[in-house]
């Protein structure tokens, strides 16, 4: 098991190298002079020279690359032009917010998606199945920002149950965190729960038709054991793939939802950085979130090995 983790981590290194190279190159891919793009057309030559010096753009390309990696290894991704603080520090302050929100949304997605998918499969072609799948389709079809706006109008403006936006840190006030995070988490989760429910349903239906399910019934196992143990243990293998994708979508989805609900997370930070042409911030934020996603994928691979012995022994 540890072998798989180590192998996947080592395998991720080339990916991270390529990603870091692309983020390094980003600033050079800006058409024209990056300094002008950052400072605007009306900047004085001195301002432009300052920016070039700050970002090291006056150095030869190879030495810039050397500095980029040397700094990277020291955990230094430069300084945000807009916030004036180190990129790593700014990102790390916002990251827990996004992670907490994503985790909340993931829990909701798994609960709603798995349960409704399994129930729909067990009650195939009944009204329960049809109701569950209509809701799943609705969830998939509603854009998260639209759903978020609807919820703000109903629950915050009309009913005044929840605040329209803002954020309270989980460790400061758990109830306050729930109040500020629930609508964003639901608007993130509903789409993905719909997706997961449909995948879970079809996977369960497929698994329930397998010969080993018939064997389990022929042994005289109770129906609950047959479904929960024998069927679900197999269905979880393809479902894990989808959950991996869902986690990536949650993190990218936070860009829209955090902006909508004024939540100070990575999504909002990156949106502002892009709008204000804060290149060091965009580069750093991108590198950190990409690394995060690579780690999520490694986590998914490890889950495969935990769930499927055929993967575990494959070359282990």
């Amino acid at each position: 098991m540890g072998g798989i983790l180590v192998r996947r981590l080592v395998g991720a290194l080339p990916i991270l190298l390529i990603v870091s190279l692309i983020t390094f190159g980003m600033i050079h891919l800006i058409p024209g002079d990056p300094a002008v793009a950052i400072a605007g057309m009306s900047a004085t030559p001195e301002q432009l020279a300052n920016i070039r010096r700050d970002l090291g753009l006056d150095q030869p390309l190879l030495s810039q690359l050397w500095d980029w990696y040397a700094n990277l290894l020291r955990g230094d991704l430069g300084r945000s032009l807009l916030l004036g603080q180190p990129v790593v520090q700014a990102t790390m302050r916002r990251l827990p917010v996004t992670l907490a929100l994503s985790a909340y949304a993931l829990v909701l997605t798994l609960l709603i998606g798995l349960v409704s998918g399994i129930v729909a499969a067990l009650r195939q072609n009944t009204w329960i199945d049809q109701v569950a799948m209509v809701f799943a389709m609705l969830g998939i079809s509603l854009p998260s920002f639209y759903l978020g706006l609807l919820m703000i109008i109903v629950f915050a403006v009309d009913l005044r149950w929840l605040p329209t936006g803002g954020y309270i840190v989980l460790t400061d006030d758990p109830i306050g965190w729930l109040a500020t995070s629930t609508m964003p988490a639901i608007s993130l989760a509903l789409l993905l729960a719909g997706l997961l429910a449909r995948i879970t349903r079809s996977t369960m239906l497929e698994v329930l038709r397998q010969d080993y399910i018939r064997t389990a019934r022929a042994k005289g196992l109770p129906n609950r054991t047959v479904v929960v143990k024998h069927a679900l243990a197999n269905a979880l293998i393809p479902i894990t793939t989808v959950v991996g994708i869902i986690v990536s979508l949650l993190i990218s989805g936070s860009v829209v939802v955090e902006t909508l609900f004024s939540i100070p997370g990575i999504g909002q930070l990156l949106t502002q950085a892009v709008l204000n042409r804060d290149y060091p911030m965009v580069q750093g934020g991108l590198l950190i979130t990409t690394t995060l996603l690579v780690l999520v994928n490694i986590g998914v691979d490890v889950c495969y090995a935990l769930l499927d012995p055929r993967v575990r022994y494959d070359g282990a």
Partner: protein, 323 residues
Amino acid sequence: MSLLDVRDLTTSFQTGGGEVTAIENVSFSLEKGEILGIVGESGSGKSVTALAIMGLLPRPPARVLGGSVRFEGQDLLTLSDRSMQRLRGPGIAMVFQEPMTSLNPVFTIGEQIMETIRAHESLSQKDSFARAVEMLEKVGIPAATTRMSDYPHQLSGGQRQRVMLAIALVCRPRLLIADEPTTALDVTIQAQILELLMDLRDEFGMAIIMITHNMGVIAETADRVLVMYAGRVVEQAPVGRLFDHPLHPYTRGLLSCVPTLDQDQDRLIAIPGSLPEPSRRPSGCRFSARCVHAIPACSDVIPPLEIFEQSHAAACIRVGDFA
């Protein structure tokens, strides 16, 4: 009282084109320790009969339309789901055709044997482990203790079928239904598994229903034979009698399909035509369209299964002409 008594069992399947009957008026009985062979082509209703006895027909689309299945006097068709669960394993167990897919790929074989014990008996973890190891040794898995933690993909097809047998037999069933247990295996492994089945029958004193399309398997194992065609029983006889004096033209066709060493044949003999689809079965005798002895009267009524002599029964109106 017979161990198993099946009377007029009739089942149907819901298909896109409506409801079609899978098996019709299947009747037979089985004594303790007896081996009954059920033989017929693919689609003749052998497996459906077995699954109906086990209560494992997928419902929907399948449905039992009528008849009774009495096991030790109890009608299984009216039994509650819970009681049926308790019976599967210690009462009736089943081995399937596909050893490659019949074991759950994500659990160890030890777990798959032990959970069967746990479902029916209150044994300690240690005792059920010992019992599972003992059973694996009985079915001929070497180094059973270490194999307990193996996963199905680490075993060969023959070994997997042995594990399936261990699962089926670990609760000492009174009746074992073996649905084509050797079809997916190599010929040498087939012989080993059959021999093992016979040994275990002698040791445990259980009855066996051996479902196969292989006349050789029937000749080697069965005490009595049921021949099925298009969902109906067409002939029933003690094994020696069936091979010596087959009555039904279909059985005679089946037996003549088996090549022999003492005759020089260029081509194998085959029954002309093919098994009709359940929705397109001919009226009257189901075999009439393929039968070389068919007369117009064959298409009029479905011939009943009639006993001729020495508990030998056949469903053919022309049997008198052949005997």
